[in-house]
Amino acid sequence: MMDSLYLTWQYVVFHKIKTLILVACVTLIATLPLALELLLRESEQQLLARAAATPLVLGAKGSTLELVMNSLYFSTETPETLSMATMHQVMTSNLALPIPLYVRFQARGFPIVGTTFDYFDFRGLRIAAGRPLTILGECVIGATVAERLRLKPGDSLISAPENLFDLAGAYPLKMQVVGVLQKAYTADDLAVFVDLHTTWVIAGLGHGHQELAHTTDTTVLLQRSDTSVTANAKLQLYTEVTADNVDTFHFHGDAATYPLTAVSAVPHDAKSATLLRGRYLARETPHHMVRPKDVVDRLLAEIFRIKNVLDAVVLVVSGATVLAIALIFALSLRLRQKEMTTIFQLGCRRRTIARLLASEMLIIACLSGALCTGVLVVLAHVDSDLVRLWMVR
């Protein structure tokens, strides 16, 4: 057998191109399904990881998928809003830490995420350049936002108007970039983070303008009494929060009614989580508390049904490749017909010919196996980075 292996080795080395093609084909057949499986599993894990890291999300009753996608992945579809009062209910329950989110607006194609300081601790986000949020009107941007828009601390970013024809609606606010986050390989890389109050300013619930109580400019007033002043539309609202005008910024109406798109709830323990979920199970309550992991699990189950199609495709492709390989071996055998005739005439045994062919297959299989193993080992090492690169694009 060693002689057959030696002869075959010399043969495959001499016919490099043919050998390489065969090895490549076999490696592809072996590697493709396994690599796909590896990457799909890693994708599934990463998609689930963010959901698993978010214990509970409270939102207005409606699509749970829309709620989860907006609060975890900052999708553009905005769910029905809930009020700050609901968030305070969670806070005063002492069952969980509530992290409010208001994800409605965009800035140059990236979602503006209004939240509190707790969000950064919750997600383990660290500052790579600059500093965290401190003052109204500031923003901290994800690493990918900084790369794509070429922004750094000290630059500014303007929020996009929701509707060019609704001048009375949300208006653009010029935000100061004070920090850039470290790469997290999550949806956070693609977000512009601001304080919750800043999103309310963008929504028009708060603003800054000249002081009205004691102003002498009557052209901006509709009416004035001892306790109330009514301004008219001529009054200019500030479009940027600066050190000079930050004191003038204020909010109108009852803060408890201010809108949120979701409240992430981090329960203190399992019992608190159960109790908290129980509070929102009643049919008549206008809110629901969802477990993002359950929602994403269901979503992935649907999405990865396509894996069955992929498997079928891979099977068909593999079958075709096997036939191609068989054809190559058959042609190879024909090419070696003279050699076989010669050694037959020289007096070799019948099984020697079989051994030579089997050795060729064995060597091809071993080379492919080694290559396949190498590729899969490397892939197993970098699969999480690869999936992150593809997901956070």
Binding site: D3, S4, Y6, L7, Q10, Y11, V13, F14, H15, K338, E339, T342, I343, F344, Q345, L346, G347, C348, R349, R350, T352
Partner: protein, 222 residues
């Protein structure tokens, strides 16, 4: 060395019929076989070697009744007793000269490839004038060098019988002579019997005997 009696052979679905009433070749004799194309000269060699089995008659090589052996025994007998030299050299292009010479030892269990065999192969190659080309592949050799490699391969197992089928057919006149001289000298040195099919009449002088195929009465039946 070789004895054929009342031998009859024909290929299925062809018109070629070979009939040899008697053919004898003495030991250590150098015999040239001549005849027209498609007369069955190569078929004769293959019958001697046991590659083909006659429909009737007997073939003896030495004391061995070749056509009475089983296929496996014939192969084993062939590789240990008979050396083949082909017209187109039949070297393997993916092996170097040394490996080509050692090739028979790698394709059968009947021959054991020991260290002394490698030494002998190198010595044989040196005697043939190709000792410095052992690591080269056939594509880097001249026609004459290739045939010398083929001769070395045929002679390495010390065969009792050398069958050469148009061994000089692809060589230029200068090489034909050189190679045949070399072959005959080596065959004599190894006390082997040589049966060579050839068209080269000018080389008859190197042989002890010339057998004209037409004397066997073989003919293409029309």
């Amino acid at each position: 060395m070789i004895r054929m009696r009342a031998l009859t052979f024909c290929y299925p679905n062809t018109d070629l019929r070979l009939h040899i009433p008697e053919l004898t070749v003495a030991e250590a004799q150098k015999v040239a076989i001549i005849g027209p194309s498609s007369a069955g000269k190569t078929t004769l060699l293959q019958l001697i070697a046991g590659i083909l089995t006659p429909q009737a008659g007997s073939v003896h090589v030495g004391n061995v009744h070749v056509n009475a052996l089983s296929d496996a025994r014939r192969r084993g007998f062939r590789i240990t007793t008979i050396g083949f030299i082909f017209q187109d050299f039949a070297l393997l292009d993916y092996l170097n000269v040394l490996d080509n010479i050692l090739h028979p030892y790698r394709i059968t269990g009947a021959l054991r490839l020991r260290h002394d065999i490698r030494t002998r192969a190198a010595k044989l190659a040196t005697e043939m004038g190709i000792g410095d080309k052992l690591q080269r592949r056939p594509e880097a050799l001249s026609q004459g060098e290739k045939q010398r490699v083929a001769i070395c391969r045929a002679l390495l197992p010390y065969p009792k019988l050398i069958l050469a089928d148009e061994a000089t057919g692809n060589l230029d006149p200068a090489n034909k002579t050189r190679i045949l001289e070399l072959l005959c000298r080596t065959v004599e040195a190894h006390h082997a019997t040589l049966v060579a099919v050839t068209h080269d009449y000018e080389l008859f002088g190197y042989f002890d005997r010339v057998i004209d195929f037409r004397h066997f009465g073989s003919s293409v039946i029309s």
